[in-house]
Amino acid sequence: MVDMQRKDTSEQARFRDYCREWLSEHHPGEPEVRIPQSPLEIMTVEQMDYLQRWQKSAYDGGLVGCDYPVEVGGGGRKDLQRIANDEMLRARTPYFPNVIGLGMAAPTVLYHGQDALKQRLLPKLFSGEDIWCQGFSEPGAGSDLASVQTFAQKSGEKWIINGHKVWTSLAHFAEWMIILLRTDKSHKYDGLSYFVVPIKSALGNGVTVKPLIKMTGETGFNEVIFENLEIDDSFRLDELGRGWQVAMTTLLHERGAGDLHVPRAGGLKSRSAHTSNAMSLISLAKELTRDGKRVADDPIIRDRIMRCIIREQGLSENQRRGRVTELLDHPMRIPLQNKLLSSEIAQEIASLAIDIEGAASSLYVGDENAPAGGQWPLAYLNSYGMTIAAGTSEVQRNILGERVLGLAKSK
């Protein structure tokens, strides 16, 4: 384990002590329901309830939103969220269910929303009472996000929305959606504007949420269809026609490259699911045998596990080096690698786990003889969600090549 505390400021040190104490009293304990591998696969109300209760408790304890201003429901402190995250990881708490709210909506609303809107939306976002979702992708706008067609027609002080969003994780639980809309059909980029939309209150009345089923058999993301949904202009973020710029704030934070430290818990899954990191491959390989020997004794498997561990360690050391300006070149060079690498490493790890399991990798979740409960084949399938969603790996490489290396645009 990385021991961060030696470099704490005295304020951070005090806060760290506070977090430890708080967590020792308020850790929610083992969940009574099966918790999926990530918040994006939350399927049942029971799962959501348990996780919302945990987020509310952590917010009330001051562990969520500590770096946000007090006026918007934050803690008004500086550089403390990182400490809280450390300690929640250490204490192996569950993750927060409002992952899109905390990771994407909150920074976007903070930087681009009007004061009244911030004050109205952020407290319940932090507490997890209002779950958020993101309406970016459409059937015809995936990698080419700027080609969204869902249209907002001005009508007095209102906007009338019509269109079709897809891959909307958590929409079936969400109160609010951040949404990229076309307000002008004659300009590709400058014709976009950015809004927040109350979707739960409009269900059946301008908004339809239809679950999509993943290749794993799980649900978790949705289609969201807008038919003449009327919203107020006060729900707009930033200026009209500045939607693309606002969306960049969202995407930067989604890719782990934003400047606000996102509240994050989630150590629990590394205990329960055994599918979180490369080190867990070692125990898997020690349990299984091939040709009469432990798989962990197979030199090729050993080599491949080490490759994964090195990549994973490298990624975590990237975060650390990213805080030493003397050792950086381009400011976005490391942050923009996060999403690409973490998704590809997760895929490599899961793929290796399947090779370690061999014939037993045919056994899926639900089979009593499946190694690790069949979580690894599930993780491998889900890993394609990670290398596709939120900008495919191909798009990430374009962004890195163009924005960081300065290569000519590929499109």
């Binding site: 290749m215 799980e218 990798s361 979740v365 639900g366 599930l378 399938l381 394609y384 790996s393 490489r397």
Partner: protein, 373 residues
Amino acid sequence: MSSNTYEFNQDAALLKDSARKFFSEKFPVEKLHELVAQDPTLGRTPQSLWFEELWQEIIELGWPMVAVPESAGGLAMPAVAVAGLVEEFGRAAFPSPMLSTLAATYVLSAADAIGPLEDICSGEAASLAIAGSKDSWGLASTEVTYSNGKLSGTAHYVQDVGKVQKILVSAHSNSDLQLFWVDLRSDGVTLDLDTIVDLTRDQGRVSFHNVEAVPISVKGLSVLAEAMPKIWMLVSADIAGAAEWQLQTTVDYVNTRKQFDKALGFFQAIKHPLVDVMIKVDETRSLLYSMANAVSAAPEKALQLSHMLKASASDLAGFASGRSVQSHGGIGFTWECYVHLYFKRQKHSQMLFGDATWHRARLADILIGPVTA
């Protein structure tokens, strides 16, 4: 390797061609999805989902007995013809006991077991019950034992066992590994289906509680060793056919789907990996027919070629599957899109009877010699 043309003659070409037409007419991929993907529930109770009527038609066409020797009333077609036929089963991802029955056929032929071969000609389907719960790729991995004339224990990873009547069981006896022919409906036999990832197959455990069985061979190890190269060939042929489906389906998609005002196939990040899939398909197919031809034309090369083949095919299965989903983007990650059906079948085939690393290690023992102590 004596032939430039693999002896892939007119009969073989005709067989392959009619299989292709059969599936494209009677079993388009929509039908596959409808059949096996009704219930997406994670952890659903395992089922054996297939069109038995189509399988009956296939029996009438004589395909399951295509590899049975003439002496047992079979069609005795050469391995190249069988490879061509199985490619089409893979391309259609057709849920059936075809592979298992052909695999059993090759073992029975090696054991010269006329009676069981006649069962196959009479339309019975069969599967191999030769794997234990661990080390399932070795020839002696079975955890079934034979003593006092009875079988006991459990056979694992029995393929398509929900669709067959007979199983060919390997069991340890005092002396050696022996082979038996067992009717699944016999007293003392119980079957438990596994919950598996692949929706186009079933798989299960068969337990034996003092089961009487027809002995086939007392030289189980050498019989299995003779048959395995052909069994690896069967799985590889299935992979090659399925991979070509993955390739063409993905090519069609990226030619249609536009982003940034261009068809996806314009982008080299999409185009070049698909070219690499094509290259790997061709490597596997070329090794497939070379190995199949070697069965008759250069038997001394068949074993090493079969290891090359299954290693190539297993790598292909993994690579083509990954690219098919990734190139389809979000659509490819949904249950409604057909690519996941092939993805899952291929991941199953990749491991079936040995993954690429395992086969390369066997090949190295042949070409380099064993590791010196």
